[in-house]
């Protein structure tokens, strides 16, 4: 199991802030692919991925228990 976190426009597109996904092994890219397929109405082209609260490359391995967050372009400040 891994924990997915959605924010801003993606949270609205998904209709939820968090969900769990059954998971044995794979990369951040694999998780992204699953989310893209689940929420095709959202444009992921500028989304960054964070695993356990740090930005990662898509090649980063994701392990059961990890928190994977999809970070649309930030606009704080």
């Amino acid at each position: 199991m891994i924990y997915l976190h959605y924010f801003a426009g993606l949270k609205e597109a998904a209709g939820k802030a968090e969900e769990e996904l059954a998971w044995e092994s794979g990369t951040a890219s694999d998780v992204l692919q699953w989310v893209k397929t689940s929420y095709p109405q959202f444009d992921f082209s500028a989304v960054q991925i964070a695993v356990n609260e740090e930005y990662v490359l898509e090649s980063e391995p994701v392990h059961p228990g990890d928190h994977v967050a999809f970070i649309p372009p930030v606009s704080g400040g």
Binding site: H5, F7, A8, G9, L10, K11, E12, A13, Q41, F42, D43, S45, A46, A50, E53, E54, Y55, A69, I71, P72, P73, V74, S75, G76, G77
Partner: protein
Amino acid sequence: MGAELKPFHVTEEPLDGAPYMDYVTHPGAGAVTLFAGTVREWTNGKRTMYLKYEAYVPMAEKKLAQIGDGIMEKWPGSRVAIVHRIGELAISDIAVIIAVSSPHRRAAYEANEYAIEQIKKVVPIWKKEIWEDGEEWIGDQAYKPEGGKG
């Protein structure tokens, strides 16, 4: 707030600069800069009714602390505190406060401006503008909520 002040904080409470100025002031400081980002009513001819900020709170606080660490390394002798408000903000409400102290003034200005630039790049916080006739998440996000114009 005194003893309880968290120097890198994301909160739903209204912001006040004074405790952050006090927090960074110390005998080695000759200059303190405070930046407050406030909600502006008009942007590009469009009237904002209010803003809504959302954050990935634990990661945002971690990133704010990393920005603070970077400043203390780049500008030795500096002290930093950054707080960002989330939730609904009205016109003139303060969204973010950055307090920096430094032995000399140039560093206090530079480090403060560096902090806001980093916040706008790497801290997972999002702003939605709500106008009379629609709303939109800022930052080139492609999903348009119903009623939005963008």
